[in-house]
Symmetry: D3
Subunit: 321 residues, 6 copies
């Protein structure tokens, strides 16, 4: 049972549009806070998009996601789960990036997550572009390669961009596999679609054993069948969950930088997460929400709704390495 301190403010007590917006109206527990040690799941923002090859903006994602998250109430209507009663949750603030220096930023992020791991805090991250996942994995997978369930319209498995640039939001999982942070045989990518330059990424995936489920297969087989396969791929070993908002059709999530038309709708966007209950999730992220392309906040609201579904499954199952 969670501590009463780590509960969100109710909209019945304080209207949901009121108050300083922390993630899901949880208490903000900064690094030096004495109660940090009691946190089980920490919501963290990584406002960073220097790896973006096309339209930037996800550096503004955590701010808008926090704002939208005040619309989230305490109970999951579909599953009945009340995550804040299971474990102690808190908003741990943002990792401060260096917008003009990619290596420096990656170091700052890895350092932040190293501390979380040492404190046994399971991180649920709000990005940031998808390069964000790499420095997080460097912390979480320092000791052992992880499996990964990856929702996205892109594989992010390219070797390099622009004549040899190795660190962009199109390369994080190529690097993670090369660095031994992910076990490619326990990685599944779901929702891939859109036009491509070539097959360099998918050839690599096939060579190392990453399973790619394109959107056509996803729609043809249906969510229960696809997600059952995904569960069997990652198994019960430690697993990372990475959710790029551009997995969802851009009409439902226009606030992103590299949209690909023809993806799942909002209901399906939530369903795929619910299907992951019981997995051994040691960390998760929701990335690529780009507020400049959706000032209305609708994308962010969908984003935090997805984060809440993640939180519900994470709160029910204690992860183990």
């Amino acid at each position: 049972m969670s501590d009463s301190f780590f509960q969100p403010v109710s909209g019945m007590d304080l209207p949901r549009f009121a108050g300083v917006p922390s993630f899901m109206r949880l208490p903000v527990i900064t690094p030096g806070d004495p109660r940090r040690a009691e946190v089980d799941i920490g919501l963290v923002g990584v406002p960073w998009d220097s790896g973006t090859t096309n339209r930037p903006g996800p550096r503004h994602g955590p701010r808008q996601l926090r704002d939208a998250s005040t619309m989230i109430r305490a109970q999951n209507g579909a599953t009945g789960i009340r995550p804040f009663e299971h474990v102690n949750c808190a908003d741990l603030g943002d990792v401060g990036p260096n917008p003009a220096d990619i290596p420096d930023s990656m170091t700052r992020i890895t350092n932040f997550y190293n501390v979380l791991k040492s404190q046994n805090i399971t991180p649920l991250t709000a990005g940031g572009d998808h390069l964000t996942s790499l420095p997080i994995l460097r912390a979480l997978a320092a000791d052992t390669p992880l499996g990964m369930v990856h929702f996205d319209s892109h594989t992010d498995l390219y070797h390099s961009y622009f004549g040899g640039t190795m660190y962009t939001h199109g390369t994080p999982f190529r690097r993670a596999i090369e660095e031994g942070l992910l076990d490619p045989n326990r990685v599944v990518q779901i929702g891939i679609r859109g036009t491509t330059y070539d097959n360099e990424d998918t050839d690599f995936a096939r060579a190392v054993g990453v399973r790619i489920i394109r959107i056509e297969e996803f729609f043809t087989r249906g969510i229960p069948d696809v997600m059952a396969e995904a569960r069997s791929i990652v198994g019960t070993a430690p697993t990372y969950l990475s959710y790029d908002i551009d997995f969802v059709d851009p009409t439902f999530a226009p606030g992103t930088g590299t949209p690909e038309v023809g993806g799942p709708n909002a209901f399906q966007a939530l369903q795929v997460v619910r299907a992951l209950d019981g997995l051994n999730i040691v960390g998760a992220d929701l990335v690529e929400v780009s507020p400049p392309f959706d000032a209305s906040g609708a994308t962010a609201f969908l984003g935090v709704s997805i984060m809440f579904e993640m939180l519900c499954i994470m709160a029910q199952t204690q992860p183990t390495y």
Copy 2:
């Protein structure tokens, strides 16, 4: 057969962007108009949102709905119904609310609908937030409790807000049942979803006999099956139809104040109304369209498309108390 006076102006005669925008380009018949007595179905605006607990705006709904409604033509393409040839329809103008006084506004609304009922005019209302339905029901159900088909993402069955406030857009049907305006055993709520504070509303529903069909059940069973059950619940006795635009997925209807992701699409939004043909509908409303959150008017256009579907089924079946 309807009177030629009560016909919409054709876009072939006057382009649809031209003219003072009344509902569906119908004549405006004010309270003192001598032809008021000839009206069968009256379209009424209730520009009022004082019961809103979160993001206000539906007070601007009727204005934008009228504007968008000039895009509606005379014939339902799907069913072939030409409602304006069945019965005399008219725009009866707006009920003037008092934005700073909830009880005063409710009295004004009930008084307006008392007159309509006395004139045998069936009202099709454009809200307004969902509290609007309560003062309408006080008029329409003054003599006998009504059944209700209720499309929404929320139950609106809460007891109170903010430490005891009884009249908000989250409480109208709790009050209506308490006041004997609705027969809870003849009430069905469809599309409920999203996060919740607790189960206070659904516990009440279960206790009094209100049937709730959550969105997961809705999608799993499909529209024909769900709507057949809905029809059997309300039966042939007098029934009210209340349609909160947030029943629809917010991507299709962003212009609303309390969106919940993961709802029906626009085609389904129309289908569920078509499935109600032949019921004994004594009044209907479309509420919670909030123009400040969709200046494009797309939500309003969907809203009036839903109102037109309502009108088509209402025009075919004469209601009886």
Copy 3:
């Protein structure tokens, strides 16, 4: 003193966001209405933009201007004038154009204004693109050439476009002078600016005696001096007032199709009209408000604020031919 029937609805009685939006909340008096003969000043919409050479949209102008006009109250705060108490004002509806046929539309417009003239109704028109002014002048100036005060960033004096097309929104006043509808020696154009193709328009102006006051001269001399000259140019003979919203800086009036940066601000936009009090104005228009380029309605609100200033000076001085 005006008739109590011809008064706007007060926002104290009915909130300003409520009700079917007629111009300035005045009664709508259609052509066959028995009270039409009592109207002194008629507000008319001409939803037509077929003469637009660049970005279309002003066909939607009257609708949005009516909507914004419900924000206008009964009294001019700056001058104290209460125009609706001076003369009988009414919304006379829209002239129905043929969007796909320019000559047909011009005939329809001229016919509509011929009737107004025969009824001694002074028209205050909401366009429509600037070609709208030509068919209006064909009615109003049928018997005698008029003077004109013309606010605009363009002269609209070009001979033709696209290899010989004579009727566009860049040519109305060339045609009007050629057709003897305007007395060029009594025409003043104020606010001209922006890049140009060549000097064909200004050469013509100089040749026939039209006075052009460019924006640089306008700012250097100041409004009192410039407007005094304008008044002396048109004198006391019958004068038309034509106000293109692109006279105003596009930051203040973005909703228009051919903006030119560097114009007057909103306060100055009103001042120039107030400076025309006492002139013999037989008709006026406000054109080129294009809602697709300003869904917020801010341009329309400025537009109707300008129309209200026009109405105030027109209501004080009875025009005579």
Copy 4:
């Protein structure tokens, strides 16, 4: 195999947001260019919307479609087709219309396409409103009537508008059938929906043999079944493909002038084109993208994604008359 000259610029070499935006980053080959004769498929813009009866704007379509098209990469992710390697593709620029003269514009368009036909260039057109298709058909079908697969929410088969106007975007295919440009028995219209004035269009369709598949039938039968019928209707004879963006649900494609709610989603919007592979397509268009109603460019991005699917099937099968 295509010429290396006719390849799009890769985003790996030049970021996709960089460079002058031609269609799909292809070379721009103007009429007098010596390499024009080598072009197999020519992408052409027709920035024209004078036939619009409701909300104008598609004249801005080609500009925005070019901008969005720089997001398209070289390979179709779903089918693996790399169209630019099959045939020589180029951006042939825009046909210059006369915005204020419909007959003049139609002549200009037909002349442009007559030349393309004489050069054996298969045109893939970005409109413009739907009247655009008529002058194109006058060129392509000059010698023999064509079949047509037509995706739309409207039939565009009306006789006339506004009291006899024959050339609007609601009449092109009525005219095309009357002029013998289309063989009505080889015409199928898919996706028709929304309210209608009357049955004048569908009565005509039935009388001459045009097959209409309404949206209800489309959803009930499913895409494979519907598209198999469509393929059998047009057969192997020369066929035109006309795609009105308002076929798609307006939530997915808001940037259009006459939306009708309740259409296909973005994935289905692509699927229907993929189902046309192998047909004898002598020309295709994507029309009615109206940027003023979607400044975000999302509609245009979906539009060019559809154009790319068209291009993929056109590049695989050489058309023959």
Copy 5:
């Protein structure tokens, strides 16, 4: 000299788009916080707009103002003042209103400010609609009437609305004068403009001694002269500063509910505050920022820029009752 604890986070240390957004990146000091007693100037949000008679939305003001305020740096570029080094500043969070109960909300607000006053914390408030000022004044002026410098386009001196409603955002200062909270002879209202219903408000002002400086006088005399008069009116006695964002021209501040065209620009909006240095300001507010009407945040950024100017003059002069 202020405490190092009460300093904003520097953008050099943490980029300005990062972090949970408190007012001006100051520490959040909730009511029970032990350091509350050390606060000199407290920034408070009042997210409440139930008094709005026209377009609602200011309940969302504090959230957006906090977001925009992270753009504010430590030093005033124009005056060189570094307010956070003068006094201890903190974000004191929001007063929780009851959106559906005006009297309850007013009580909650007054109670909150009573505590601040008892703690000798000078409040700088972000509203909220203008009715917000009344319950604040009930706390601050409980012992002695205050003077007031009031920037606005409306007097907010009306007696009542909608047939007798006494508490709206159009009546706060009528009530405050009636209740003895303001000394009318020490009240100056600057920037009044726009259309009006009648002269009821200005007649009252004249009768009790409130000085109104309309916008025409403001522009004619210039800011130094006008502000010198304003300073002499309020003198050195305790003074409240109330700034309605609709004082500024709506082009510069579109995010507000009752705009009036023709106001000061952004530079002038700051200048008028700088001219108040040295006054005895016991409290200040910035009200009527309505995010739904400016999702871009530009209005909020101007709003917090004005608040920073207020803070600079308040930080330099210790108020005394």
Copy 6:
């Protein structure tokens, strides 16, 4: 006299919304084009914003500026200059940056401009963020330090950001002075305003001799006086002109990443450039236009209007080193 080849397409021949959008409708002359040697003034895009410390987006600037630039006609209405008749102007395309590698991008840019300088082409650049100016200056000032007229709300003279990062858009001119690319005694910065972290930048300016004219001084003295001083500072020696769009008030130019309220209006934004006629300008740029923050394109239209004013003065005076 310029070559007829280097003329913009007239809007009379091809409507301004038509055609592939090159800068000002000029011919696109790529690096290998044989006519490149004939170019006098080359318009270049640098779509790069990796140096942005706050809100990114200017990488999209050149695309939107080209789009808006098709609204520019051949003649300056204010001065009568027809620049395209004076010298050969062309669109030279974009420099391709590496979005994820700042040093690589700077090298690419300097290389591009080295070639231009060797070809005696005077560059008029559309950025990009303000760091863009540094690699340009490295080419243009390789042989001799330049003077600079710099319009901006920020000095961009900071030493470093985020703990030592030397290359951001806040540091270009600090670097340029350190590298000997600018002669600080011939540098004037105009329009500086807003909050600041400290005085590190202005202390440096004073120490090396850079003249800063803050916005308060700018408005007090007026444009003629200020610009006369600016002219005397740079004298007749080679001078660079750098114009950050955030010099202009953000209401007039919202599409930028680091706005500061209270700047010049659009008319003044043009005036300051006109006042530079006759100077020895060897290069100019317009930077920090960020389309994601102004999808309407209004900022870009003002931006190209400023670029056209620059072009007019550059076309009249041949620069000499």
